[in-house]
Subunit: 535 residues, 2 copies
Amino acid sequence: MKPVFLYDTTLRDGTQGEGFQLSMLDKLRIAERLDRFGIDYIEGGWPGSNPKDIEFFREASKLDLKHAKLAAFGSTRRADLAVEEDPQVRLLLEASTPVVTIFGKSWELHVTEVLRTTVEENQAMIRDTVRYLKENDREVVYDAEHFFDGYKDSPEHALATLEAAAEGGADVLVLCDTNGGTLPEEVLEICTKVKERIPGTPFGIHTHNDCELGVANAVAAVRAGGIQVQGTVNGYGERTGNCNLTSVIPILQLKMGLEVIPALEGLQALSYFVDDVSNNPHFARAPFVGRTAFAHKGGMHVNAVQKLARSYEHIEPQRVGNSQQILVSELSGQSNILIKAEELGLKLEKGSDEAKSVLTRVKEMENAGYSFEAAGGSLELLIRRELGSYEKPFDLKEFHTSYRLYRDGHQPVCEATVKLYVGDVGEYTVAEGHGVVNALDKALRKALLPFYPEIEEVSLTDYKVRIIDGHDNTAAKTRVLVVSSDGEHSWGTVGVSENIIEASWIAIVDSIDLFLQRRGVLATKSADTPSAARA
Amino acid sequence: MKPVFLYDTTLRDGTQGEGFQLSMLDKLRIAERLDRFGIDYIEGGWPGSNPKDIEFFREASKLDLKHAKLAAFGSTRRADLAVEEDPQVRLLLEASTPVVTIFGKSWELHVTEVLRTTVEENQAMIRDTVRYLKENDREVVYDAEHFFDGYKDSPEHALATLEAAAEGGADVLVLCDTNGGTLPEEVLEICTKVKERIPGTPFGIHTHNDCELGVANAVAAVRAGGIQVQGTVNGYGERTGNCNLTSVIPILQLKMGLEVIPALEGLQALSYFVDDVSNNPHFARAPFVGRTAFAHKGGMHVNAVQKLARSYEHIEPQRVGNSQQILVSELSGQSNILIKAEELGLKLEKGSDEAKSVLTRVKEMENAGYSFEAAGGSLELLIRRELGSYEKPFDLKEFHTSYRLYRDGHQPVCEATVKLYVGDVGEYTVAEGHGVVNALDKALRKALLPFYPEIEEVSLTDYKVRIIDGHDNTAAKTRVLVVSSDGEHSWGTVGVSENIIEASWIAIVDSIDLFLQRRGVLATKSADTPSAARA
């Protein structure tokens, strides 16, 4: 048996977070992915709260889950209503999941002020509902809402509600720090008390991050003997979010030696997957899985990491699917630049004039708003230019974009023209697109294709816009980051301008330019015989 | 005397984080702000690592700090060099700060593999440097780098380095979890051991967030008797960042009863200030200070919070300068919409057809990519339209934007034209701008100004672009969020389109439209006498 079971509530509690919305299809995809990763329980939703969740459970029953058990979430029966008459409880059974999770009230304040019933009736609601679900052959998880606040208010009241759930036959009693205000030492102490008082039923933990202690509180509960940890991928959830499974899983496995996931190296991919599906930006500073979680910027750290990786890394990044990054930035000593150049396979000598001028240029451009941390492609071009291993693929003469919107007519028209020279041969092209940047990208490719047919292999895979100075209204500076791929490799390029169109242009040109430099196709071109290039 | 001193290293360790860059002026502004907020120590930089920091200390000595002491950061003397000969140590004294913080090596691995010296020489380096700084009348903070890793490797070695610092006369021994891999229980245990072994010198704590335990580890150290907490505002810093002072401060003060800051209600403003100065986006889910830290989305929670705020809030948001938010979204029951309408001073009856149709419309628009959580202005317009308390200020006929870039000529030309009607009167205007959206904003205002001179009071104060679906390259959907102000109130509006220009247009039009609805100036206009409006 596993020492600790993982219970994911991304699909339910996660969707209570601002900006975290999932369609039914999204939920199905995430459920499947959680199962493959090795999560033990997947809470799919609350059938009693919205029709989308009822539909989800209908569809989810067709999923081919290999390991995880699906759980439907709901509440205890209403006050003064027989449990078998309660429509919300009926919906829980109709979800046809092997597991049902119900929450009940632990805090006297909530019983009297929110539910507006008596302490005795509240206990009966818990006991009856758990028993009824057990009679219907469900594994029952009892979520003791506000348990820690309730305990601090009245230990006897809170413990009596747990006893009611245990009497009903609950399989596990999950202690919830619903408001996220409890400290780890309190969690440890209170969990220990619960274990002493109710030794016959195991307990689990459900925490929130309101004090930035969601993970620490879950760890404290496991130390006290907890056997189930509830949380969400990337910590999404109401207010400040839930316990971040993406952090607590590697702590349990790598720091505490508890085997909870068979292949932990899938962790970063899972984190990105949930961000992508929910259309949320990746949080670069996220522990374990963040883009910068193993990124070294200070010149001294970079030096030391080169000598000995574990000198500034608490685990091997590969164990959670991450990797070491050397950031090139303002604080860069030459060693960051040299390492980056080496990664790129470019020869840059320590202390050389080229290395110094690359560094100077990087700092100048960063002052102007550039950021090379996620734009290795633009940095590579910059180094190539300094090393002289660069050949200009074309000269831009001008470009023009136009966008016309008619209120009572057809679709908006987005059009771009590009005028450029490759050697002495001029090209003047026009294209339409979904937007002006898309049109511009198309017109540029159209102009270059006769000379460089290889660019057909290149496609844009990501396009991000960031306003880097919001103080000057719409005239603020814009940074555009483009990720391109040729099917095998991908690379990031960056452009900065007061104008989003020009910033996009710079990033797109860099993207194609770098591809051509790497392919080394430029030297073979004769400027005045574009047809030869096609041969 | 304060029970715990706060030591901020945003200006030094913070700037090791990706995307966290500060100019010298930025650093001065932040230092002043930290002082006013009540931080005890401000670490300004490492004069030995870059010339910007030397300049900073020169300028910082002119700041009128009311409370905080400035600290210069550096390392112990080099191996095999007399301390008074060490140029890096000399720069520390030349910074002329009342406090100097030096770090030394606690982990044998680092002594032998990174420094490549002996254990004895390492201890001498620590002892000599501390003593020399004390002889020069500095308050000396000794940062024991990698202390916990070093202790776990060899307690005797790690403790001997602390003893060397204590012998040199250090004022405080700061135990650093440099790699962020230590668990709170280990911190508690090891800090307790340090206190037993070296009772004569107090200790402090410096943690990193690599396991999402930076705050928990600092709290554990304070429990063990630590008297100084080091960290950064918003947790900025290398890799996953430093201990987040913005979380640990309210925990110390509100949860542990330690008076560390005189006016804690300035906390959220400090957090936003540092984000703004460093040009970083606000992290909405940040504990205590985040935009959603006290935001309620689930219908049930919204209900309960209305009955009793503390039912889902662990502290009063006002105590840290934050406030309660009711989010309108997909999960909204009618009660969220009703509360929001009430906040806006609009009468919307529970269960009414209007309330239902507002909810339906919100859900439709959210499916299309809209988000009203930060765009209360657009939501207000939507409610007004459903209630019939809305009058259309103008009819758009068409608009056009054009952007032309010349490589070998003058500045790019951004131009927009707008054709619209107010009643029967047509206007056709053209304007140039810094970018096409800026030009469009100007052309629109130019067209409306004769009819609605009030709009001169409205200005755009923020403009944000978010790509909400990166799967379709440059044709992805774009959400534009605009914040406007009339000098007294500010409001957010939102536009979504495949095209950034159209999305911007929608958000800008909503912004002006809402202003006009609120002012109630529409009904007074006679469509064919614009001059009357000016009277």
